[in-house]
Symmetry: C3
Subunit: 310 residues, 3 copies
Amino acid sequence: MSLKGRDVITIRDLSRDEIDETLAAARRLIPYAEGSKSSRILDGKILTLAFFEASTRTRLSFETAMQRLGGRCVTIAEAGASSMRKGESLHDTIKMLSQYGDAIVLRHPNEGAARLAAMVSDRPVINAGDGAGQHPTQTLLDLATIQEAFGTLSGLNVVLLGDLRYGRTVHSLARALAVYGNEIVLMSPPGLHLPDEVREQVDQLGAKVREEDQMHKAVREADVLYVTRIQKERFADEAEYAQVAGSYRVDNATLMGAKPRLIVMHPLPRTGEIAPEVDSTPHAAYFRQAFLAVPVRMALLSLVLTGKVP
Amino acid sequence: MSLKGRDVITIRDLSRDEIDETLAAARRLIPYAEGSKSSRILDGKILTLAFFEASTRTRLSFETAMQRLGGRCVTIAEAGASSMRKGESLHDTIKMLSQYGDAIVLRHPNEGAARLAAMVSDRPVINAGDGAGQHPTQTLLDLATIQEAFGTLSGLNVVLLGDLRYGRTVHSLARALAVYGNEIVLMSPPGLHLPDEVREQVDQLGAKVREEDQMHKAVREADVLYVTRIQKERFADEAEYAQVAGSYRVDNATLMGAKPRLIVMHPLPRTGEIAPEVDSTPHAAYFRQAFLAVPVRMALLSLVLTGKVP
Amino acid sequence: MSLKGRDVITIRDLSRDEIDETLAAARRLIPYAEGSKSSRILDGKILTLAFFEASTRTRLSFETAMQRLGGRCVTIAEAGASSMRKGESLHDTIKMLSQYGDAIVLRHPNEGAARLAAMVSDRPVINAGDGAGQHPTQTLLDLATIQEAFGTLSGLNVVLLGDLRYGRTVHSLARALAVYGNEIVLMSPPGLHLPDEVREQVDQLGAKVREEDQMHKAVREADVLYVTRIQKERFADEAEYAQVAGSYRVDNATLMGAKPRLIVMHPLPRTGEIAPEVDSTPHAAYFRQAFLAVPVRMALLSLVLTGKVP
């Protein structure tokens, strides 16, 4: 089992053993991510970041991860990069990029773009989000956050809150949590339920799944409260949005009666879904989750580019 | 006294001893800035450059400074970086960025943004300009230029010429020059005078300050002629602007009768304020001033990140 | 003979011996470009990439080349970089940039910009394309591709196909091929012929030059088929463009009867000029040509910055 030279397009490209290995590597890399230890294991390696859609935090955390291990980056961060504007196909763009660096991190607005890129590229491709599709390193860092808080990825009660229909990150997370054996509680506004096919997969993977519509009841039993953004554009009018967003907002009152060990997660950026007052409670895990993006991406880059970690 | 781990938001965050130490370090780093000596003192360090407003020369000189000492950079140089467009607060953006690199250089259109960032960030913040507010490394490089030319920062006659009202750099510089004991001569068009509160501070710091309206008289006594851009947007109409701009333009005729050792400075970019013919006179110090941005920023980064310089 | 510290504005700035030396260096650097060997010969060197016009592949391949040899980059990749928007002259921008890094790679929309920059800059300037002007590293990588395929740069039949009037790359390539002694066959739509002055230079340099209007005849005798993009904006209407573009399109049928060793080249990006089916034939050399951009630019950067290669 080795990730060396492998494409990582969806979290399902990784076996449970490979996920465990990556998360263990990420834990060992935390002091390197903080800058208290240093390594040059990726010295001489070049990572090409092709961001055909802006995603500042994903880009910065990959660039930080690569450079913390001594590697170098070349970056396209233009929505309409010039070659694309001249009518070049994604095939040709990826073929060209694969002539330059040792691996490609791709962010693209179109679902399926990363899989296509992997077929074309002579070098490994890591999917950093393709439209409504996959974003496997987000799932890995979500798992890393849960594992760090509880010392396990199994037997937990995880509430997924908010837009479960269009929220890409929760689909992959729900499947991964099912594989590890957890109870999943779904809480979403009308029209933003988890898609049937995702729910069926999660059921088949053996998770206990149920819906809940009482926030206080959900919170009381939760180990993890995973909050997602509810996007204004999904609603017919402002008033309807405001009402729904308001009833899915997490603040200190919402968290009354929660288990002491409950963690609140969010893929960020948040707008109003979590009140700032939550930041100073021991429940707030979302900035730690943002930090863990670095060691998780360090682990994956190191394993894909060299087959090992420092 | 150590700058290690310190925020640098305004020049007043540095004591006179700390300014002296930084300038001395910058002098020692000149051969490293020129590339004739090399150092890896910042090997393994990551600098996050968050430019929420374009400022090419400030960004490039910080990136050059960091990399000349072996450090690495991750950069946001998008006016409307994606997370901000999604409605993220500055608090959250900075909190997130402080999870990644070892320090943050912030450029922001809003006054006070850098101080807020410093309160939020777990890592040191260096202000690279926040609206009409501060830009302390600009002041340091202005001082470095004067010190290199005269071997001292005291006892000089410094003429500040042009827009002294909105020109951010001259406010900090005037205060710093006052601390070191200099004569400050103000020459500005009507409506663009030095703000009263700045003038009062400069007076209280013990500088001799006076206004002058005769260019030739000012030039004749000056050791330093610090020229700033007069912006068209400050004037009611084009004709008024053209007349004022014309009478504050420095060319070889203006410099007739100047002391041989007079230096002409400008924070750049210039538009028409200094005629190109001045470039080839020994008075022109503005490109040297641009160069000194590199060793000054090297010194500050090295002191903030490690507490020492090569 | 040394390229150390030299400006490279047009391919004519290099003697035939210097071109031969650069190409030989590029061949030696191929394993370094692939990442199978590594070098830090440019450790401590900073390259300033000033792209005042987008050109993603040129920028990325220069950044990759610099970093593959241990050097660092600072990059302006904004069409309207901020200083320029404030009305700064190209003179001042270049003068400022030359204070920072050890060399400048310039891409600019205006013909002649690179020569002007070289006059102003205290550091070497490499032209990465200036409007309808020159792009010498493109010519070098075109030559490297031909040389790798045939083991020689002389005695070949090279067909230049498509827009020979506005296509900048073919003018420099035609001259260089003439110097090395080749037969050049021109095939272009009406109105897009090679400019008279270029044709005269090529004649005077001693090349056999002729026009051809039968695709099959041209292909049958060719060693190299160099295809360029025909731009829609050159035509009065869509229908005329579609007809011309169609008759200059290269597909497997076009290549029936070609010599086995024929190579098809294209500076990329292509739109419809070469059918994807050609990619899997042994004739397709355009992605190899894209790859060779890296070792060629590595060679030139190494020679200009240090006078030697690893």
